[in-house]
């Protein structure tokens, strides 16, 4: 067996960036993205100050989360152990960029596909070392076979003090650092001050931290060093993904409530139970699909999800779940059109399961995102399900404005139930302890950049106001659908605000 890995010698590294440039040259990497770069951190107080250099890139993980999540096997393991990629398969979904806990991947603006360091496998194939290795003035970059105990890097790893980045993600990285201290390798412990970087600008892809006069970057809790140079790693999943979570919740929730109504004996209500719900669901499923496809960097390749699907990826499994759900909706709709109560009764449980799967599969997809610890919370599945319930209730109270809907009180309780469950789960999430990464993400979401959006949008508009409105309408037994409909609308808007802050906050923690 050959398992190639890297030994990066931070003792020898002089931070000259020759490797950065050699790589750009070898692979014609466009401006704005990097396969490899050198991170600079500074520690200490004058005159006991240090600046340290560490090369950052793909870790060629033995248990590569990017490979697991890639829906089309565009990322694959080469025979020599390198995690390589196949451009032609990439649909540009950027799941890999969220699965990777190391910022290793980027979307190449030239090809609109995901690229990363592949150890210059095209060079290895003709017996040449990677470009970064041969250019380095101090020979700080070495490849070697980790399965060969006599290889130079195996010997170094065996005898010297070496470290890897983020071992707790269990990706089994094959890039080892000699001479790198923890501050150098733990990106949650360093921060770029608002003063910026040593000789490059900061951009939206470089989160920075205010450091008022008289304070130091390390006065911030948990920060042990100041980042003086690094490359930008912009967020990849934004409002289209947050949006898809809401449209999907509506699609799922509508059918959940429809199924509930069937179980409550209204399978004969052709409009409100048989025909309209699957159509609403269909529209929102369609929107979900459109959002997913439009978010792809290679939208015309969306069908690769099926034709070149990688079954281990929850993106693929989710696609099949969505398709199954669409089929169930279709059959339900036929049942509704043909006024067949039997069909509806038969489909009720499958519909519930398919809807739950539709709403909840994202928890498993997010669970594969090893770079986003916030999203890996076990509470995510219940939250998504609760949100589907909320969305279903909201959809129905809004439908109540335009048509006759049975069991209005129950539906209002469903809405209230969904909102309350969501609120409780979020409360548990915020008060539970997590890793530093999670704490930073939660901090960003609730106190930092996304705080306004989270509290005002997600909590007030999305939970407090709708709950209040529904409680009032239930308590005061208000007939008019207007107030609950408003509650439903606010709940959906707030859901978007919450999801968006959750999605963004999850990506706000630096990985390198």
């Amino acid at each position: 067996m050959t398992r190639l890995g890297f030994l990066l010698d931070s003792d020898s590294c002089i931070g000259c960036h020759a490797c950065t440039v050699a790589c750009k040259s070898e692979h014609d990497v466009p401006l704005g993205v990097n396969r490899t770069w050198v991170k600079y951190i500074e520690t200490g107080t004058f005159p006991d100050v240090a600046r340290k250099f560490n090369v950052m890139r793909c870790n060629q993980c033995d248990d590569a989360p990017c490979m697991a999540i890639c829906p089309t096997s565009a990322l694959f393991r080469a025979d020599n152990g390198v995690v390589d990629f196949q451009d032609d398969n990439c649909i540009g979904c950027k799941s890999c960029m969220n699965a990777c806990p190391y910022d290793a991947l980027y979307i190449n603006p030239d090809t609109s596909t995901a690229h990363k360091c592949n150890m210059c496998n095209h060079r290895l194939a003709v017996g040449l070392e990677p470009s970064c290795q041969i250019v380095c003035p101090t020979e700080a970059i070495k490849i070697g076979d980790l399965d060969d105990p006599t290889s130079e890097i195996s010997r170094i790893i065996a005898r010297d003090d070496v470290a890897v980045r983020t071992p707790e993600q269990n990706t089994k990285p094959k890039v080892y650092y000699r001479g790198a201290d923890q501050a150098s390798l733990d990106p949650t412990r360093t921060a770029i001050a608002n003063d910026g970087m040593i000789w490059a600008e900061t951009t939206p892809g470089h989160p920075t931290m205010p450091v008022p006069l008289g304070m130091k970057p390390t006065d911030e809790e948990g920060v042990v060093a100041r980042t003086a140079y690094t490359t930008a790693h912009p967020m990849t999943w934004k409002e289209k993904v947050s949006g898809y979570l809401v449209t999907k919740a509506i699609a799922a929730g509508v059918m959940l409530v429809a199924a509930l109504l069937v179980l409550m004996g209204h399978s004969d209500d052709q409009a409100a139970v048989g025909v309209v719900p699957p159509m609403v669901s269909g529209v929102f499923l369609g929107l979900t699909g459109i959002l997913l496809v439009v978010d792809l960097k290679q939208p015309t390749r969306f069908h690769y999800l099926i034709t070149r699907g990688n079954w281990s990826s929850w993106l693929v499994r989710g696609a099949y779940i969505l398709m199954a759900f669409a089929i169930v909706c279709g059959l339900w709709w036929i049942g509704g059109l043909t006024e067949s109560a039997t069909i509806l009764k038969v489909l009720a449980i499958p519909a519930v399961l398919a809807a739950a799967g539709t709403a909840g599969y994202t928890a498993f997809l997010f669970g594969q995102c090893e770079g986003r610890d916030l999203w890996q919370t076990p509470l995510l599945l219940p939250v998504l399900l609760a949100q589907a319930v909320t969305a279903g209730g909201a959809a129905y109270v809004i439908l109540d404005l335009f048509m006759d809907v049975p069991e209005v009180t129950a539906i209002r309780w469903v809405l209230l139930g969904g909102v309350s469950a969501t609120a409780a789960l979020i409360a548990i999430e915020l008060t539970s302890k997590g890793s530093r990464h999670v704490e930073l993400a939660v901090g960003a979401m609730t106190k930092g950049k996304y705080a306004q959006q989270f509290w005002w949008g997600g909590v007030v508009v999305g939970l407090v106001l709708p709950a209040t409105a529904v409680i009032v309408s239930l308590a005061a037994d208000i007939d008019s659908p207007a107030l609950p409909a408003l509650a439903g609308l606010l709940a959906l808007i707030g859901m978007f605000a919450y999801e968006d802050s959750f999605v963004r906050a999850g990506q706000s923690v630096p990985l390198s």
Binding site: I14, G15, A18, G32, G196
Partner: protein, 945 residues
């Protein structure tokens, strides 16, 4: 497969196949021809190999050259970035001539023939009217050995001006005052203690080869000491980072020296054998007997004030550290390798004492040209003799070598515009060559005024690969190639070895290989010119000078053409092939044999490999025995120095007796010295030994500085209002990814580095009330600039610093663009000049898609323009550090503002000139000093009027 090699095997370089990176994992074969050359992005001259795609005939990437003895196949970031410079969409591809006013930015494309005809005619006229000294070649980066010197000699023009005095003049005096050789050549790889007053792990000459060997030594247990007021990357990797108060470094070094002598860990036998201690005692301690036993006491007396405690007070480095370092050095005699080139030398008045005191430690430990020690450049550099000779220069150009600076090392180039303004001369034809004085030099607006004035500079020809602030104001802008497009030979004293590296137009060489048959290269013929093969019509100076010389003297009647004639093709100019074929065949020891063994002509051999190690014994050349025949006819003086008749060593002193005096490039012509009965090579100094006492400094007006001593800097901290808002500005620092003007044309380098905020310590920020990321106004003697602050613990409080590299600008939106230049507007009202930044970098459309992906805006502030000239009175060095006032920006101040009053520049110039001590002995300069284009002895005579 786990056995990998670094480079394609040499035998396959003409026809090498590897796989396309972008097509992978599809295996698409790409066929390349690998053509080596030498990097042009700094002076190190590292090896490069260009990869030509045989399908497209374009260079696809550039890697290192494994054949190169100094760089060994590895490069810094600037090496592989050369490909950006070759294919930059904004590079100048054709010769241009201005249309309209100077600086108006209107250009017409002309032919090379027209340029040669017109410029040749001017020079011809000037020379025939005896106005030879109105022709000047002002070079920034030479990147070659002696080629242009020969051209100027052929023209009879003492016209070599350089950038040395903004770079290394101080360091050179420091070194040459000891050993004659003016540059250090350290054997870092074998050293045990490495002492850097430099930033050689990130910049400077010779960064890449030095960094390789310093890190090797460190991994083998050597200790690295780095002295720098700011935490450079080098300081960060060092075992000891010593952030001295700027200009106090000699004090620190002398404290260490004193400790070595006091503790008796100095290498007494070496000092006794190889320094002029007798002269030292005679001159400084006439009260003591002239015997070795007096020396230690005399030196302890002389350096009595340099105690560790005094050093702590002066320099800011604590006594424990000073003692620890002295002990460390004392433990490793002969293996102390040190280096100073710019840094404290370039920043401070009296900064030449930095190198002098640093090398003092080499002398005290006997680490002079030892294994692990520091040698002189002449010991390791190899300059092949030119294949065609040239006459000597017989005139002296005071615009470069003025009377006020008899000891300057070398030309007083920073003062050129002031001299022109004073009417000391005018320039008929001024070549600025890979040099950007308006931007790189201090006092850029004074330069702008002078260069715009057609009565002072009648014709300005810019020889440059890229647009620059200076070439914008030229009359002709002639594109000369970068590393891949020109011919040069370089050799540098990077380590304990001798090597040459050949730079060639790889496009031309590729054509030779591709057009060849049966493994033989095509013969491109005598009329081939590099512009036929390079991108556009980019040319190179080697051929330009040859063709220009033919235009100056078409029929040979001026005696110039004869030095540029082809032997192979009579009646035609000498070809590049001929020139280098002859050089390689005859003037590089060992090369002809190596080529023969490889079955190739020497020229082919070098075109294929580009580098050659000259067989040499690098250590202790001064101990080499000299054959008795070499000293035949010489007079031996009391110190054992052999003095040759007809050389300065035996000169009578009579100013009328100069006609037959033969000058050597370095030294006074003495071939050897007798030590303990043996005839040895010695050093090229008047005493043939290392000069603890410099008789030259004593005799030429500076007796107080004859021995190593600390001279308080012009920015000495104790003289400054540090409790108020005065600070020391350190603008000399450079970074690993950029180099002066020409790296602005590399997209990758500028993506990595494009911002140079003002480093300041958080304590200073508080004291000065500079906000987080705040705008700061830096006020100098002649103006001010507005820059952004960057708080860092990595700088001594009291010192602020902004990197040299950024602050580039252009005056028009779509012209003279680069990846590093912003847009500015310049206005002036009398002598007050204002530069306002309109905008920084912006994405735009061009042939390179990456210009649309420019994500950064900052292009820095042109700080140099606000620095007045501050020439060190001895070396002529521009003392770069500034006394400045640091205040929050004022209302109306905008980032990038630069304001200068050139009337104040002039005042400052006069002020500094008043510190000089012109010669009083009738000679312009010591005969033994090196000097580019060293004229005949008669030219040294000062006119008596």
């Amino acid at each position: 497969m786990t056995d990998f090699r670094k480079y394609p095997p040499f035998e396959e370089w003409h026809d090498w196949t590897e796989l396309d990176a972008k097509a992978w994992p599809d295996k698409v074969e790409k066929n390349y021809t690998l053509v080596p050359t030498t990097c042009f992005n700094c002076e190190a001259g590292c090896g490069l190999v260009t990869y030509f795609d045989r399908d497209t005939d374009e260079i696809v990437k550039i890697e290192g050259n494994p054949e190169h003895p100094a760089s060994r196949g590895r490069n810094c970031a600037k090496g592989p970035a050369t490909i950006n410079q070759v294919y930059d969409p904004e590079r100048i591809l054709y010769p241009l001539k201005r249309v309209g006013e100077r600086g108006s930015g209107d250009w017409e494309r002309i032919t090379w023939d027209q340029a040669l005809d017109e410029i040749g005619a001017r020079i011809r006229k000037a020379i025939s009217e005896d106005r030879n000294n109105e022709i000047m070649y002002h070079v920034g980066r030479p990147g070659e050995e002696g080629y242009t010197d020969r051209v100027l000699k052929a023209w009879g023009v003492d016209g070599h001006n350089s950038h040395t005095n903004i770079c290394s003049s101080n360091a050179r005096i420091g070194y040459q005052s000891w050993m004659g050789h003016d540059r250090p050549s350290s054997d870092f790889a074998n050293a045990k203690v490495i002492f850097l007053i430099s930033a050689h792990l990130e910049s400077g000459h010779y960064f890449n080869p030095h960094a390789q060997r310093i890190v090797e030594a460190k991994a083998a247990g050597a200790k690295v000491i780095c002295v720098d007021p700011r935490l450079s990357n080098t300081g960060a990797k060092a075992d000891f980072w010593l952030p001295t108060w700027p200009g106090t470094e000699p004090f620190l070094l002398l404290a260490i020296a004193r400790l070595l002598i006091e503790s008796e860990t100095w290498n007494e036998s070496f000092v006794k054998r190889w320094t002029n201690w007798e002269t030292y005692l005679e001159q400084t301690r006439p009260d003591l007997p002239v015997e070795w036993e007096s020396v230690r006491g005399a030196m302890l007396d002389e350096y009595a004030e340099y105690t560790p405690e005094a050093a702590e007070q002066k320099t800011g480095i604590d006594t424990d550290t000073i003692r620890e370092i002295a002990e460390l050095i004392g433990e490793h005699p002969t293996k102390f390798a040190s280096h100073n080139w710019r840094a404290a030398g370039a920043g401070n008045m009296g900064g030449w004492q930095v190198a002098r005191c640093l090398f003092f430690l080499n002398v005290l430990t006997g680490s002079v040209a030892t294994k692990g020690g520091t040698a002189g450049n002449g010991m390791n550099k190899f300059k092949p003799a030119a294949p065609i000779g040239a006459p000597g220069i017989t005139s002296w150009n005071e615009l470069e070598w003025p009377k006020e600076f008899p000891l300057s090392y070398h030309e007083m180039s920073i003062l050129l515009p002031h001299f022109l303004n004073e009417g000391r001369g005018k320039l008929d034809t001024y070549f600025s060559r890979v040099y950007n004085p308006i931007w790189t030099n201090p006092d850029g607006f004074t330069w702008m005024e002078a260069l715009k004035d057609e009565s002072k500079v009648e014709c300005h020809v810019a020889l440059t690969p890229t647009w620059s602030e200076t070439s914008w104001f030229a009359d002709y802008v002639l594109p000369m190639g970068v590393a891949a497009e020109r011919h040069d030979i370089v050799s540098y004293e990077t380590h304990a070895a001798k090597w040459i590296s050949f730079r060639q137009s790889v496009f031309r060489r590729y054509a030779e290989i591709k057009g060849g048959t049966d493994g033989e290269s095509a013969d491109l013929g005598p009329d081939a010119r590099s512009y036929d093969y390079n991108p556009g019509e980019v040319w190179e100076e080697n051929e330009f000078w040859i063709d220009l010389s033919w235009r100056i003297d078409p029929d040979g009647s001026m005696g110039i053409r004869q030095w540029f004639e082809s032997e192979e093709y009579p009646g035609k100019p000498v070809t590049i092939d001929e020139y280098y074929a002859k050089t390689f065949a005859e003037n590089v020891p060992g090369l002809a044999d190596a080529a023969a063994a490889a079955g190739q002509s020497p020229l082919e051999y070098m075109r294929d490999r580009s580098a050659f190690e000259v067989p040499a014994d690098p250590y202790e050349p001064y101990e080499r025995a000299v054959d008795p025949s070499a000293v035949e006819g010489c007079l031996k003086d009391e110190s054992g120095v052999f003095r040759k008749p007809g050389t300065p060593g035996t000169w009578s002193g009579d100013l009328d007796d100069l006609d037959d005096l033969k000058l050597s490039p370095l030294g006074d012509g003495s071939p050897a010295i007798e030590i303990d009965g043996e005839i040895k090579e010695g050093f090229p100094t008047p005493s043939k030994k290392l000069e603890l006492f410099s008789t030259t400094l004593a005799e030429w007006g500076w007796p107080e500085y004859a021995t190593p001593k600390w001279i308080p800097s012009h920015v000495h901290w104790e003289d400054m209002d540090l409790a108020g808002n005065e600070r020391i500005l350190l603008p000399t620092f450079r970074i690993p990814t950029l180099i002066h003007t020409r790296s602005a044309n590399s997209k990758w380098l500028n993506e990595i580095s494009h911002r140079h905020p003002l480093w300041l310590h958080p304590e200073d920020a508080e004291m000065l009330e500079i906000e987080e990321n705040g705008l700061v106004r830096i006020t100098t003697r002649i103006g001010h600039f507005v820059i952004q602050a960057w708080r860092t613990e990595g700088i001594r409080p009291g010192v602020v610093a902004a990197s040299h590299h950024m602050g580039r600008w252009r005056l028009e939106e779509d012209k003279a663009r680069s990846w590093g230049a912003g847009k500015a507007s310049i206005t002036n009202d009398g002598t007050t000049w204002k530069l306002k930044r309109e905008h920084g970098n912006e994405p735009y459309k061009s042939d390179d898609e990456d210009t649309e992906r420019i994500w950064w805006k900052d292009t820095g502030v042109h700080q140099n323009a606000t620095f007045c000239v501050q020439p060190d009175p001895i070396s002529g060095m521009q003392c770069w550090h500034q006394r400045v006032r640091v205040t929050p920006a004022e209302p109306g101040d905008e980032y990038g503002d630069v304001v200068v009053d050139t009337a104040k520049s002039h005042e400052a110039y006069l002020d500094w000139m008043s510190n000089t001590r012109p010669s009083t002995n009738g000679l312009r300069r010591p005969f033994w000093y090196a000097r580019p284009l060293k004229p005949a002895a008669t030219a040294y005579r000062l006119p008596t009027d």
